[in-house]
Structure formats: structure tokens, C-alpha cells
Amino acid sequence: MAEATVFASNPAKAAVAHAHQARSPMRWLVLAVLLALLVFTLFPFFIALLNAFKPGTDYVRGGPLSIPTYLQFDSIAKFWKDADYARKLFNSTLISVTVSVLAVGISLFNAYALGIGRVRGSTVILAILLLGTMVPQESIIYPIYWMAKTVGLYDTQLSVIIVTAVLHSAFGTYLLSSVMSTFPREILEAAEIDGATRWQTLTKVVIPIMTPTLMVLGTFFFIWTWNEFLIPVVMLVSNNNQTVAVAMGLTRGQNMSDPTLQAAAGLLGILPTVIFFLIFQRTLTRGVVAGAVK
């Protein structure tokens, strides 16, 4: 089953092997490097947190790193109200969840055909799909706008869902196909001998084994869609349809930006993904190490 995972299992194995070694200066060095990386990663969060609750007068006096003289919650409240944040949160969640389910579904079916099934020219199809993921969004946004306008989907969330799901599933198909092409043939043959149809092989054999991988893929799709900016900003005209990422633009004017409001928006913007990640991090790690333990 080692092959049925998304990520290489070597680093995990190495980590396990390392744990059995005696304490060495190397370990401390690794720890120090990891700690430094941790501080580096957490620093933006810290800045957002520090400035989101800092009064504007403190900011203009001391800048981003100063310690606030008192805490104010106006920035958070103001951004919540001005951006109609509850609504944006709902929109983003709806779009991201739908895209993530849809894109995983499409990727799975495509990859089942391309990776396990025998499709003539599957390499060419994969190469084309990969090209699809590499094309810059800016270059396809105008045709997408025209298509959406022609079919009456401009300014609807459905347009964003369809476009984003298709774009993500191009990458998902590529990834899952390469994983499935190494799917143990013995298992598939055993299923065939037992008289399983193709549909049964997919639902009873492939999906259960692939579940951790699919979960990881779904989580990534969710986070990518959540952070998506260009497609929603172009496709969703009305404020009521917009997403969190687009609403963040409220803090940046033509010539001016409001740093404390920006920090508040940043904090509110990343919080949902952090919460989502915390909930799903068990499935994520399981997906990553699923193959390593066996």
C-alpha cells in the first residue's frame, strides 16, 4: 500500500529512523533550525495579531512593532461590519467546500480511467491537463468572463465554483493518475476474479484504499479555493456574492492603506483556514504517512 500515497515516504522513514539514534549535537542543530523556521513562520501571524488590536494613534507613533498602550477592538469590529464579514464567510465556505468535493470527484473519476483503466494516449491527456494548470489565470480570465456572460452565469457563485473546480481537477487528475498507475495490480486482479464490476472495483477497492490521499487533496483544494483572488474578483460583481479574499481589498485604497484595519482583516482572513487546518490536520498527517508505516 506504500505506493498509494501522495507524498514520498522517505522523509517520514528517515525521521523514524533518526529517533532511534543516540542524542547527538546534530539533533540540537536540527531542533534549532526547526525553531528558527517556526519563529519565521509564526512572525506574520504575530504581527497581524499585534496590530489588529493596536490603536491607530499608537501605530503612527511607534510603527508595526511597537507594543500597544491599550487594546482596541474597533478594527476587528469595523472590518466585520464594513465587509459584512459573516456573509463573506458563508460565501467562501460554500464555494470552497463545493469546489473541493467537486474537484476531488472529477479528479477521482478521471484518474481511475487514466491511471487504472487503459485509455489510449493517456500520457498526452495528462500532459494537456498539466498545461492547463500552468497557464496563468490572467490569460484565461477574459474568455472565462465572456463564457460566463453568454450563459448568464456572470456574477453568480456557480461560475466561480465551475471554473475553480475544473482548474483544480486538472491538477488533481494529474496527481491521482500518477498515484493510481502504481496501484497494486494484484488487488485489482483479485477484485476482478471475485467478479467485481468496474464500478464496484472503484467504490469497494480503490476509494477505501485511496481515502487518505483523497482527503489530503480535498483539504488542499479547500485552502486553494479559499485563497483564490483573481477569479472571484472578476466573476463576482455584487458584494453579496463575494468571498473573504476579495473583501480583504477593502482595507487598501488607491493611495492609502489602513495598517491596523489591514491587520484585523488579515487575522480574520487567515483564522478560518487555520481552524480548518487544525480540524483536518489529523487526516493530513495520516494521508502523508499512510504508506510509511507499512
Binding site: 491607530g56 494613534t57 503612527v60 472578476v234 481589498g249 487598501r252 492609502m256
Partner: protein, 421 residues
């Protein structure tokens, strides 16, 4: 049901039937802008919209606070769809308002300009950015948008620090340099500058305008002739001189405007050259010292322009209401209101303005506009010139470009654009 009430019902129903074609039924007026809710414009426009609402109780007013980003990214796509509002704020200039005007997406405002009496408030100088020709170039052609406020670049200064150092507000460039010297002698870096950002090129242009006459500015902004580099050479030499004498810190090379303005607001540097868009932030947040503005002394031209435009999309369902709203914004009442909120008004009633910041800013703008001295922004003539100027400006401050090389490099880009138009 009694027969009487039946009659009443029928009568009522037929009245409603009769009434509906005569009265506008369930009208919705869609309006967008992206100025911040706390800015002078945002506050004033909200109040004016309230009045419009009160004047038309039968109309549902639907306002959406947009973002600059959104209209920058997809403005022409929105205007070319049924989703466009009835009236909206739009960025002035060739690449934005000019583009959508040339694409035929806007309502022509030539007739409204006189019919609504806007000509009594605005002069031709304040209409330069309202007119776009068939190529979308500003300065001539029909009126496609109306601006209701102004903006200009000036030096913000720390009044307390000036008093403490015994420095008077400079009226000439020599006095400005002398003021720098006094501060420097006292161990203070006098000028905060965002060398990698807008304020860097605005200072450079302000210095160039000290050596610019009408022909130069018109040629420069109109892309009419190859660049005459002399004013820019003077500006570049002055800037390197200031850097060498320590009037500007070496750090300003890589500094952006947010950090540079922080140098000023925290009291570290007593002067900062930037636009009137800072007024809101400074008024609200500077509590430690008194501050004021003075215009960089130039013979005529200052960096500045009229503000963003109100445009009426071609498909607007309520163009009359849209015009009424623009008229409200240009009325003395809301012009005064705007100045009182710290904004730069065209036609405020001086007696009614109690906010010193708005009163001063409006007065300064009036002076510049009266002598036709709006020199616009240095990046306007050439597409992408904003980044070119920032990049070369940084090179100049870093010392990798001499003033002569600086002028050569920006001249090459300018002349290429000029030749290929």
C-alpha cells in the same frame, strides 16, 4: 364580505392599476464608490446619498462599498455587462476612465454639464480629466465624468518641531534648503522620503516643476515632443545633493510610503512630501504634535489633479437620479460639508468651513487651480512609467545612477513611447 367592502376593494384595486403606470414602480438606484467610509469623500457622499433617499422615498437606494482593486481588475468587464450600477466612482486617467469612454460604455455628459448647472461650479481646468477623445486620451473630446474634489502633493510639516528649531515655513526653494540645514545642524533628518514608492517620484516631479514652464508641462503630459531633460536633471541633482548632505536618510532608498509616513507621524522627521490623501489619517491619528502643509515652492505648476470621476454607465437605468446625485455633491452644501470633513473642495463656502485642515487644503487647491497650475502626476504620459520612475528613482538614491544617467534612462523610455504613439 359586505358589498360595500367589495366595492372598496375593487375601487382600490383599479386605483392601484391606474396608479402604477404613472408612478415609477419599485425603482432601485444602484450606486458604487470605493473611497473609504472614513475618508472626507466617504463621509460626505454618504450624507448626500441620505438626502437623495429622502428626496425620493419611492426609490430603493442600493449602495455598495467597492474596492479599488476590484474596479481596477475588472472595471471595463463590469461596465460592459448588465451588472453595472446606475452611477459609480471611477479612476481618472487614460488607462481607466479613458479606456471605458473610448469603448463606448459611458453616458455622454456634455448636455448635463450645462443643463444641471455644473458649469457654474467647475471651470475648464477642472474638466481636463473629464474629457476623453475617441482614443481615450484625456484633455479633449466630450465630457464623460465629473470630479467633485481635488488632490495635490505638498509638504506636510511638524509645526511643533518647526517652532522648536526656530524655522519658518519656507516660501522659496532656498528657504527650504536653509530649513533642512537648520534641522540637520540640530541632528535631525529633516525629510522623510519613500524612495521606492509614490512619494519619491512625487518629490522628484515637484522639484522638476520648479524649472518647468507651460510648454514643458504641456509637452510632457501630452507626450508631444521628446523629453526635454533639463528640469528632471535639476531635480535629480537636487535630490542627490540632499542625500549627500543628509537631509534624507540613506534608508529611504528602499523605503515605501507607509514607512516614510511613519517617520513623519512618529515625529522622527519634521517633513514629508506626499498627497492630500494622507489628510484623513493624519487628522485622526497624529495626537503628539501640531502639523500643517505647505506647497513646494514652484513658479506655477504643482503635482496634483482633480479627483476620481463620477461616471454614468451606458446602461444606467436611472441617469436622471445619477445626475441629481452629482449635482448634490457639487452643491455648496456638500462642498462645504466635504471641506469640513477634511477634504479638498472646489466650491466650499469659506464662511461655513470650520475644519482648519479642510479649509486650508481647499484654499491651497483653489490657488493652484486658479493659476491653472495642476501639473498632474509624473507617471501619466507613458503606460508603465510609474514603475520606471520608481526603479530609476531608487537607482538614483542608491548611487548606481548619476543624475545624468537617470535622466538618460527615463528619457529613453519616454522618447520610445513618444515616437511610437
Amino acid at each position: 364580505m359586505t358589498s360595500l367592502s367589495k366595492v372598496a376593494l375593487v375601487a382600490g384595486a383599479s386605483l392601484m392599476l391606474l396608479g402604477s403606470p404613472a408612478f415609477a414602480q419599485d425603482k432601485t438606484f444602484n450606486i458604487w464608490w470605493y473611497e473609504g467610509a472614513d475618508s472626507a469623500q466617504g463621509i460626505t457622499w454618504t450624507k448626500a446619498l441620505e438626502e437623495l433617499k429622502a428626496n425620493h422615498p419611492d426609490v430603493t437606494v442600493n449602495f455598495e462599498q467597492k474596492t479599488f482593486d476590484q474596479l481596477q481588475q475588472s472595471g471595463s468587464m463590469i461596465l460592459n455587462s448588465a451588472e453595472a450600477p446606475d452611477v459609480l466612482e471611477y479612476n481618472k486617467g487614460n488607462a481607466t476612465a479613458g479606456l471605458v469612454a473610448s469603448q463606448g460604455l459611458l453616458t455622454n455628459l456634455d448636455d448635463a454639464y450645462t443643463a444641471e448647472g455644473w458649469d457654474k461650479v467647475l471651470n475648464e481646468g477642472q474638466l481636463v480629466l473629464s474629457r476623453y477623445n475617441e482614443l481615450g486620451i484625456y484633455g479633449s473630446g466630450p465630457i464623460w465624468g465629473i470630479s467633485t474634489y481635488g488632490e495635490y502633493v505638498s509638504a506636510f510639516y511638524n509645526i511643533d518641531a518647526f517652532e522648536k528649531a526656530g524655522v519658518k515655513v519656507p516660501a522659496t526653494l532656498e528657504e527650504l534648503t536653509a530649513a533642512f540645514d537648520t534641522f540637520k545642524a540640530q541632528g535631525v533628518t529633516p525629510l522623510a522620503l519613500g524612495g521606492a514608492s509614490t512619494s519619491g517620484q512625487h518629490l522628484l516631479a515637484s522639484l522638476a516643476y520648479t524649472k518647468a514652464d507651460d510648454t514643458w508641462v504641456q509637452n510632457y503630459q501630452g507626450l508631444k515632443a521628446p523629453l526635454d531633460g533639463a528640469p528632471y536633471l535639476f531635480a535629480a541633482q537636487t535630490l542627490t545633493d540632499w542625500l549627500a548632505k543628509g537631509y534624507i536618510t540613506k534608508d529611504s532608498t528602499g523605503m515605501n510610503d507607509d514607512d516614510a509616513s511613519l517617520q513623519f507621524t512618529s515625529g522622527k522627521s519634521p517633513m514629508y512630501v506626499s498627497g492630500t490623501w494622507n489628510l484623513g489619517n493624519f487628522s485622526a491619528n497624529i495626537k503628539d504634535f501640531k502639523w500643517g502643509q505647505f506647497v513646494i515652492p514652484t513658479p506655477k505648476y504643482s503635482v496634483g489633479s482633480t479627483g476620481n470621476l463620477w461616471i454614468i454607465p451606458k446602461g444606467s437605468k436611472n441617469p436622471e437620479l445619477a445626475k441629481e446625485f452629482i449635482s448634490l455633491l457639487l452643491s455648496t452644501k456638500y462642498q462645504t460639508e466635504q471641506a469640513n470633513n477634511g477634504g479638498v473642495s472646489f466650491a466650499a463656502d469659506p464662511a461655513g468651513v470650520t475644519n482648519p485642515v479642510g479649509a486650508n487644503a481647499s484654499a491651497v487647491f483653489a490657488q493652484i487651480a486658479a493659476k491653472q497650475g495642476l501639473g498632474f502626476y509624473p507617471d501619466w504620459p507613458v503606460p508603465g512609467y510609474y514603475d520606471v520612475l520608481n526603479q530609476k528613482d531608487t537607482g538614483l538614491l542608491q548611487g548606481t545612477l548619476s543624475p545624468e544617467q537617470f535622466v538618460d534612462e527615463i528619457k529613453t523610455v519616454y522618447d520610445d513611447a513618444q515616437a511610437s504613439q
